[in-house]
């Protein structure tokens, strides 16, 4: 059967630009645009506080352009659909942060994907050549993408949200950059994500499905661009079975123990209902109770999506008092708020 894309879009080459324009127009109290591809906080942080810059491909909304704001990151450089901006545009983002902060410290968050690493790395080098005070930190969490022991080769997935929230809260409190890097690295070291896809999505650029999957199959470990994982399809499971499987793998990989407490993110990939996510979260709680594990203010919803892919990812981050305190700190971005 021929595949036919049904999406409410205009010209494919204008997707990224049009969606950012819409997002910023809808949340103009919170964010504004500088140039064509840079999204900034409407009310910037005070000078002297570390500016957080992020650049990644579009098409994952609300992540992460929807999280620019108070207690979160300061500058988002929006790329094309599923493709990070080139170094010149990321450099523009860094230069903008440099101006806002009056020459203060800047931290660039880089999701561990080839394009993001090459372009983000080049932009940081170029900015340093201009005398800008900038460092970067690599974000990775997907246990499907590289075996245990090769954590730094893992992809950045929805668990990156923990790093954004914690780094953002610290920067807001006025921590210096080396402290932010230290705590964010702790979060990365303690965070694990695993995704499951039950139905593929269509690339809005090409109109083609990103992978194929039979009606009675699901895929464990797909990437955020719908890349089928290294593992190949498994038989379809119900909510309890799939949550048991995913939790088992995350707990084993993270060497999590009974008594541990976690930040939990049940992330919808785009077409999965909150109904399904709550049913799965219920099973997570049963598992946690049985294992004497605890969760702290869990987050359930669409955070980092892959178009209309059906499925979810589960992210866990082993929490300590510092992480919990920063997770609870106030935030005010278009798609994530924590009340004071």
């Amino acid at each position: 059967m021929a595949w036919r894309m049904k999406k409410l879009i205009n010209k494919p080459e204008n997707l990224a630009w049009e969606l950012m324009e819409g997002l910023v127009a809808a949340h103009s109290d919170n964010v504004r645009m500088a140039g064509k591809h840079i999204i900034l906080r409407r009310k910037p942080k005070e000078k002297g506080k570390v500016q957080l810059v992020f650049g990644q491909g579009s098409g994952h909304e609300p992540g992460f352009a929807g999280f620019v704001g108070y207690g979160m990151h300061d500058v988002e450089v929006a790329g094309q659909i599923f493709a990070c901006s080139g170094p010149d545009r990321i450099l523009e983002g860094i230069e903008t942060a440099h101006e806002i902060s009056g020459g203060g410290e800047i931290l660039v968050l880089i999701a561990n994907h080839e394009g993001d690493v090459i372009n983000g790395g080049a932009a940081v080098e170029m900015a340093r050549d201009e005398g800008i005070n900038v460092e970067s930190i690599l974000l990775y969490d997907d246990i499907a993408s590289a075996p245990k022991g090769e954590e730094k080769s893992r992809r950045g997935m929805a668990g990156m949200f923990f790093a954004f929230k914690i780094a953002g809260a610290l920067a807001e409190e006025g921590a210096n950059r080396s402290r932010i890097v230290e705590v964010t690295q702790k979060v990365i070291d303690r965070a694990r994500t695993l995704a499951v896809a039950v139905r593929p999505c269509t690339s809005p650029t090409t109109g083609q499905p990103l992978f194929e999957l039979a009606d009675d199959e699901l895929i464990i470990g797909p990437g955020v661009h719908g890349e089928a994982g290294p593992e190949g399809p498994s038989k379809m499971m119900n909510a309890n079975e799939v949550m048991d499987e995913v939790l088992e793998r995350l707990i084993a990989d993270g060497e999590f123990k009974s008594g541990d407490e976690f930040l939990v993110l049940v992330n919808g990939c785009g077409a999965t209902t909150l109904m399904e996510m709550f049913i799965m979260f219920r099973r997570l709680k049963e598992n946690f109770d049985r294992r004497s594990m605890k969760y702290h203010r869990p987050l359930i919803g669409n955070i980092m999506t892959t178009q209309e892919m059906a499925g979810f990812s589960l992210s866990l981050c082993k929490a300590d008092e510092e992480i919990k305190h920063l997770w609870d700190a106030p935030a005010d971005s278009p798609y994530f708020k924590v009340c004071k």
């Binding site: 494919p12 080459e13 491909g57 790329g79 094309q80 659909i81 599923f82 493709a83 990070c84 901006s85 080139g86 170094p87 010149d88 545009r89 994907h113 080839e114 394009g115 090459i118 372009n119 080049a122 499907a144 993408s145 590289a146 080769s153 992809r155 690339s203 650029t205 090409t206 083609q208 990103l210 992978f211 990437g223 661009h225 719908g226 890349e227 089928a228 994982g229 290294p230 190949g232």
Partner: protein
């Protein structure tokens, strides 16, 4: 008489033909990318070349070096991701090799493509055998060098280079992906041809066809 060198205007025509060739193959290149990537390689490339060549066309003055730089920067800006920067770097490297040249002979093409390859490797850190576009560029450079020592004509040399690039692209089927999204498929990436290497084969074959059409 076979042509020995191309002028600035002829070089611009070649870039136009390369742009048209990438555009005509965009579905095929994307389809290759769909197995071990995210399936939009050809579309991204076609869009980048289209805008890049528009930018080249809008600068009536300028040198071959300038055209290559314009195309390279356009690819980096418009395509994004790893592929935009890597393909952009290829043309920026070629621009270095074309510095000060009014006309381009086989020896210049050799030097340009070698500079392009060097910049790509510096930026992307990939080696031959890693299942990337380098697996097509590398044999093309070697083939051009060989043709230069054998004293072949420009057209003959590019016909051979196009074959070498095509063979290199096909060889990637036997390789395990070490970079980009193909990396996560590990040994499951075997059997699939790399889309970037195939784009290089398309580009070099378009250069060969352009040169052949310029023969009197």
């Amino acid at each position: 008489m076979p042509i020995e060198r191309v002028s600035r205007e002829q070089f611009k025509t070649i870039l136009g033909n390369v742009t048209a060739a990438v555009s005509s193959k965009k579905e095929y290149l994307s389809q290759l990318d769909s197995h071990i990537g995210d399936g939009d390689h050809g579309f991204g490339m076609a869009n980048g070349f289209r805008i890049g060549f528009e930018n080249v066309s809008q600068t009536p003055e300028g040198s071959i070096e300038h055209y290559l730089k314009t195309l390279g920067f356009s690819l980096i800006k418009e395509v994004g991701g790893a592929s935009g920067t890597i393909f952009g770097s290829l043309f920026l490297g070629m621009a270095k090799g074309a510095k000060g040249r009014e006309e381009i002979a086989l020896a210049d093409f050799c030097a340009m493509l070698a500079e392009g390859l060097a910049l790509v490797q510096q930026r992307g850190k990939a080696q031959p055998g890693d299942k990337t576009m380098i697996d097509a560029v590398h044999p093309a450079v070697a083939s051009l060098r060989q043709s230069l020592t054998e004293g072949l004509s420009l057209v003959e040399a590019f016909e051979r280079a196009a074959q070498a690039a095509q063979a290199g692209a096909e060889q990637t089927k036997n390789m395990i992906g070490k970079h980009g999204r193909a990396k996560y498929f590990r040994e499951k990436s075997i059997g699939y041809q790399d889309a970037g290497a195939t784009t290089i084969a398309v580009i070099i074959s378009a250069i060969a066809a352009s040169l052949a059409s310029m023969e009197p």
